[in-house]
Amino acid sequence: MNCIIIDDETAARTIVSHLCSQVDSINVLEEFSNAIQAMKFLNKNTVDLIFLDIHMPDFTGFDFIETLKNPPKIVLTTSDKNFAIEAFEYDCIVDYLVKPITLPRFLKAVQKVENFSAPAPSISQESSPHKSSETSTEKEMYINIDRRLIKLEFAKIYLIEAKGDYILIKTDEKNFTVHSTLKKIEEKLPDSLFLKVHRSYIINIKKIIDIEDSSVLIARDVVPISRSNRPELMKRLNLL
């Protein structure tokens, strides 16, 4: 398998290149410190596999994938576990390696690449088995505050923000700080109302006031939209 490595960090490229050298079936054609250089290379060359860093300045790994007409198999490499769910939205992404990458985990990824033929599983099927479905009849959830279970109606929540080990839930009436993660609450929220627009923010799309290029105004809050989440947000809007 001919592959390329894209990562803005030299140490990361050195490690992935070394790991590739441990596998006979992998041949590293080139290494790139940015996605633009790699795009130029791919205009003239074909590869079977890309080891791709997600978090790069100016042009993220997901932005890069969006530019590929016929993407090869891709193994993401990242220091950020938060992108794992998003990764499964791309059929070409075979695996997701969290840095620092170990040899056993790398070999497992290579095995997956070699066995890969079918599209990656969708989020609703495997990654989020407890996610509320579109047809869910649930209209509220309960949060635990000082040993009291407080009912929150989904329709009244307009924003959820990650705050370290806590999340801040903003509703029409009051704000609540809960010891939890965005990932956990995302599983409880109905898809029809909520969308993660940034690694630290989930919004109620029915409460949007306006949207600019990279931010959304929701109630009194301006929330950033990450470039990788923007296409999904635009898809969900009833655009004229």
Binding site: D8, E9, T10, A11, A12, T14, I15, H18, L19, Q22, H55, P57, S79, D80, K99, P100, T102, L103, A162, K163, G164, S200
Partner: protein
């Protein structure tokens, strides 16, 4: 405080001393520039860019075997995106520790 070590590099190299030396040299060369870039962004209060610097630096934490400190970097990165500098001193102390460790190799 958790101490930097070579366990990850040794495990990765599988005994290949030339690779160990190569990787250590890469970290030695790359780390000072990343630290300066981070410090500059902190100084001009561009916390978004500083968070990106921390994101890249935290991989170095993992390379020198600092598992708990890796989590500090994750939390600090998230905090910086909100302009929160609570973990600045702790993060920078770890950074200094790694810098000294790498330079002594």
């Amino acid at each position: 405080m958790e101490q930097p070590n070579l366990s990850y590099i040794k495990e990765l190299s599988g005994g290949d001393a030339s690779f160990e030396e190569k990787l250590i040299n890469v970290v030695k060369n790359e780390l000072p520039d990343e630290i300066v870039e981070y410090q500059n962004n902190i100084e001009i209060e561009n916390y978004k860019l500083a968070a990106e610097n921390v994101h890249k630096l935290k991989h170095k934490f993992g390379i020198v075997g600092l598992e708990k400190s890796y989590q500090v970097a994750i939390d600090y990165e998230a905090g910086l995106l909100e302009g929160n500098l609570d973990l600045k001193e702790e993060f920078e102390a770890i950074l200094q520790l790694i810098h000294s460790f790498i330079n002594e190799l």
